[in-house]
Symmetry: D2
Subunit: 150 residues, 4 copies
């Protein structure tokens, strides 16, 4: 049975554009923020480590985003209270794809999906994000993400 993580997000003024509606890039940012809230709910604190700049509890894990796609279904406006639903659409050996739906009341505002790859630095001394290699998602992280697999 599909289980979604959900959180709420109010449209802020600076996220609107001169067409009077929320800019498409802000809707995709809401999706990222919902992913981060889901991770926090799993105890996967995505706080940046001061020494590693990783966005995962274990400093050796990085999750660069490799794909994002979004359909914009209805406009949202300043101060709308949006419901952001997120689930795990696919849990690969090295990657995770989140599925997103943003709603305003009964109206679907946007749906999309975003994929990140689990990575480690080639060289632990370097903090260059460029020198990453994909690794298998650790079992404990996989188990937690599995709760939201639909």
């Amino acid at each position: 049975m599909a289980v979604n993580f959900s959180c709420q997000r109010r449209v802020e003024f600076c996220e609107t554009d001169a067409a009077g509606i929320v800019h498409f890039s802000s809707l995709m940012i809401y999706m990222e923020q919902a992913e981060h809230a889901l991770l926090r709910s799993l105890g996967l604190s995505v706080a940046l480590s001061a020494t590693s700049h990783s966005i995962w509890p274990d400093p050796v894990l990085h999750w660069p985003r490799v794909r994002a796609e979004c359909d914009f279904l209805s406009p949202a406006r300043f101060e709308d209270n949006l419901l952001c639903l997120v689930s795990v659409a696919r849990l690969g050996s090295k990657s995770v794809t989140f599925r997103h739906l943003i709603q305003s009341g009964r109206t679907d505002i946007a749906s999309g999906s975003m994929t990140s790859v689990c990575c480690q630095r080639k060289n632990a001394q370097s903090d260059s994000v460029g020198s990453l290699i994909g690794i298998e998602i650790p079992a404990d992280v996989r188990e937690k993400l599995n709760q939201f697999l639909t």
Copy 2:
């Protein structure tokens, strides 16, 4: 023969994130800015009309974005000089899909596509973006966009 419109974009500091690279949402914003630059190059001034808030010369035309997708191929960093290439991938009767490629030197940073629908207000007195209906792309606009069809 494929003809691309191109423009350059330097990565600004506020567009980077704590991972030390440009945030994915900024890459998609660069794509939108490349579309707007392409439209300007065609004499299709996308300036907002003070009375209609349309983003097209004719106040009765609106182009809400209905889909965006993007693959993030390599990280870009502060002050990188990016080349943004854009062409028209599909020119439907009522919609246009732009294809995008962002490069840093010989490295592909991101590729994607974004689709907008040609719309008109149901009621010319209203400036509500919500009350739009899709219409056929006018012949003169279609002819101009056709130059970048690949």
Copy 3:
């Protein structure tokens, strides 16, 4: 006795920069968002009117920002839970100055102030923001804002 309005704000990933801390512009945006939350708490719905694009319940009122200043006291990082305090520092006949303080635990992150002027359009038919003239703040709005005057 000084009365502050307060709200909480978590630092989102896209608001950080490559220095690993929240970008200064995001701190000033948090201040604007705290103002809007204060206004909502007063029943001054700042929703945009579809016909007027005013950010005030009465369509004839506009509040363009005329000044902002901010001291950045300590860095804030991704996922920090910030407390945003806002009060009314000065209630002029035509303008309001909000005073802001952002804290992370017992650490002051930023303090500042922002001033807006109460305006009306010269011509009600036009929705051009440029053609505004300053007017006296209406008595009922003044009375509400007065609650947060320090």
Copy 4:
């Protein structure tokens, strides 16, 4: 005699808000971008070092922003071509204050100033931005900035 550094900046769509004008935070971001362009013009490449995340050629120098202030004088709109003028208002022993003016044709859009402090990490092994101490601006950097002192 006052010498200003100048650069041009077009207002992008995502930088406008539902009031139909450029958001105040974008004007302050334009000022930061003009500072970075001034620094580049001096050969002070502000590229982030992969190992230090400093925003200065010498990895041991950091320039956290400590104050920003801005007066918003006239609205700017989508696709306006703005001229950004920046000079050095004050060159202290440890800090630099840039003075900014943004113009659209003959109209002043915004004026302001922003102050940064020259810093070094207390501990070269740490990349924590929080553990910085102010240091004297190096002579060669001071000499270069001095060209724009007004």
